[in-house]
């Protein structure tokens, strides 16, 4: 039924060709970026191009890492992303618990709102947002960025968290309730510990989004000591002479945290993503 050995061999070869072509499409641009970050700025567009040339050095990395201004961007990005992650995880656990375990009057409506928030274009919020943040007195502060990013991470996080709690049998928490544990105790002692994979997925997703955000980081901050890595890259681009190698080095360094997180947690993350976004 499955075909002769020859056919399988042919099929295998075709699959490998497709696999390698796909890898070139996905990976070569990234490889080129990394290799260019080790070139001198003069050699970036050398003719003919070479993946590695005589100018190979870590100079661009040294320049980025010895510049306190650039390091500050990293510090800000870490601080904001970690705070957003903690706040979003806690808030979404509480909300997910409510949606998964309780029936209440406006449940459907509120659920709808939370799904709907995902589709609100950031640019729509942009104009009044600026005024609101100034009015609240948090313009150019970490608080403004953290609260803003939570708006964009929270709804998906809640959907993911609710989906995860829904997969856990209700008998578990009912047993604790009967033993006299309150509802918060049940959540904290029973559901949270066994939901760790789902929580990790929410956390990684939130961190990635917060680490990468650009539009609001650009508009809600004024001074460079409040700005994050994506804005740092943007600022380097705006300078008179393009320091390509430094921009690329900053980009590589700026991508590492997300890449590492992703590689470490990809299993959880992919499972959580698909549980949340698309319940197939």
């Amino acid at each position: 039924m499955i075909g002769s050995r020859r056919q399988i061999l042919v099929r295998k070869i075709l699959i490998w060709i497709a696999l390698i072509l796909g890898a070139c499409f996905a990976g070569l641009p990234v490889l080129w970026m990394v290799s260019s970050s080790f070139k001198s700025n003069l050699e970036i567009f050398a003719y003919p191009p070479a993946l590695i040339d005589y100018s190979f050095s870590f100079d661009a990395y040294k320049a980025v890492l010895s510049d306190p201004g650039q390091l500050r961007f990293f510090f800000n990005s870490y601080l904001v992303a970690i705070m957003v992650t903690i706040c979003t995880v806690v808030t979404s656990i509480l909300a997910g618990y409510s949606f998964s375990r309780y029936d209440f009057r406006f449940k459907k409506f509120l659920n709808l709102i939370i799904i709907g928030v995902q589709s609100v274009p950031p640019i729509t919020l942009m104009i009044p947002y600026f005024g609101l943040i100034v009015w609240l007195g948090i313009y150019n502060s970490y608080t403004a960025l953290v609260l803003t990013y939570m708006v964009f991470t929270l709804s998906y996080a809640i959907i993911m968290m609710t989906g995860y709690f829904n997969t856990l049998p209700r008998d578990l928490d009912e047993a604790v309730m009967i033993d006299g544990g309150g509802s918060f105790v049940t959540l904290w002692r029973i559901l949270v510990p066994i939901s760790l994979p789902g929580i990790v997925a929410v956390g990684v997703y939130t961190f990635m989004l917060a680490w990468n955000e650009f539009l609001f980081a650009l508009t809600l901050t004024r001074t460079n000591d409040m700005r994050t890595v994506p804005i740092g890259i943007h600022l380097l681009m705006g300078q008179h002479s393009f320091e390509w190698n430094q921009m690329l080095a900053l980009s590589v360094l700026g991508s590492l945290p997300v890449l590492i997180l992703f590689l470490l947690f990809q299993r959880y993350f992919i499972a959580g993503m698909s549980a949340g976004s698309v319940k197939g």
């Binding site: 890898a23 191009p49 589709s119 640019i123 729509t124 942009m126 609101l132 991508s255 499972a271």
Partner: protein
């Protein structure tokens, strides 16, 4: 304390509890989503808002008329639609192809794991880094031109991002590159959820690979496909950073999309009423798509 009062309190507490758990979320969304949307809607109905010495004047739907009949707006709208529809369609094709490849039974688990990471790579980069990366590659003296010229595919060096005829396709391509892994990952999860016996019985009935794909794989993935495509469509309409940092909407507005147009109207021209009106139009388009998205989610729930 009397017994019934106590029970009443307990009951009320139980009723309020779910709202208690939801309160941080609701507070945040009310303050930072509902109020701003209300404000932007009000702005779209008046003239002279924010930085304007004259007092605001209520003008009703005049701003909408002005925006909808504006040639620049229509250009931005059609660019947005082209950018979004092409992105969604190609994302789907590439995402599904890669997912099917990575799901092949002829490959070992290790090979799959390695290639999965390579294929996901574009996803971990933020839009501003993707913009830099492709500005490097698509530079007139960059490596893409070099390779295409050497292979004889193009006759001369192309200015991918600053040629009016090429720029929109170039930014669409970049968006395709950066967005397909989301589909791939979801399809991979979806494919693993299709029970093997469906294929077994399909093969017993004499179906070939294409028929199995057409009659088993695609229908099984249908709910995933619909929600992914709708979500991606909404996200692509939002896309700002990638275009802002590659072409800035140029050259000659050839890559101007609704989000960059709004941003310029607000923060370069300071026409906040007009910008708010465009922002409301974007919201309306997204809400329209979102209705279908919510419906598909609901169907998946049931």
């Amino acid at each position: 304390m009397s017994e019934p009062a106590n029970i009443g309190w307990e009951q009320r507490k139980r009723k309020l509890l779910p709202y208690g758990y939801l309160s941080p979320t609701l507070l945040l969304l009310a303050a930072l989503t509902v109020i701003p949307i209300g404000t932007v809607f009000l702005y779209s109905l008046v003239d002279n808002v924010i930085v304007n010495p004259n007092p605001p004047v209520f003008v009703g739907l005049d701003n909408y008329e002005e925006v909808l009949t504006n040639r620049k707006f229509r250009g931005a709208l059609s660019n947005t639609m082209y950018f979004s529809i092409v992105s969604v369609v190609v994302h789907f094709i590439i995402g599904l192809s890669f997912a099917l490849l990575l799901n092949s039974r002829l490959l070992s688990a290790n090979v799959k794991a390695i290639f999965r990471v390579i294929y996901i790579l574009p996803w971990v980069f933020t839009a501003s880094i993707i913009a830099i990366l492709w500005r490097l590659l698509l530079n007139p003296h960059g490596v893409v031109n070099f390779v295409l010229l050497e292979l004889g595919i193009i006759p001369e060096l192309n200015e991918w991002l600053s040629d009016r005829k090429l720029a929109l396709n170039a930014v669409t391509f970049i968006n395709i590159w950066s967005g397909y892994p989301f589909y791939m990952v979801s399809f991979l999860a979806g494919l693993q959820g299709i029970p093997d016996d469906l294929y077994e019985s399909g093969r017993v009935d004499g179906g070939n690979a294409w028929q199995l794909f057409r009659h088993i794989t695609l229908p099984q993935l249908r709910p995933i496909i619909i929600s992914l495509a709708l979500l991606d469509f909404i996200w692509t309409i939002h896309q700002f950073t990638l275009i802002w940092m590659t072409t800035g909407g140029g050259p000659l507005r050839s890559t101007e999309v609704l989000s960059t147009y709004t941003y310029k109207a607000a923060f370069s021209s300071h026409e906040y009423s007009i910008a708010s009106t465009i922002a409301m139009v974007i919201l309306a388009i997204c809400t329209f798509v979102a209705i279908f998205y919510v419906r598909s989610q609901r169907m998946a729930d049931e």
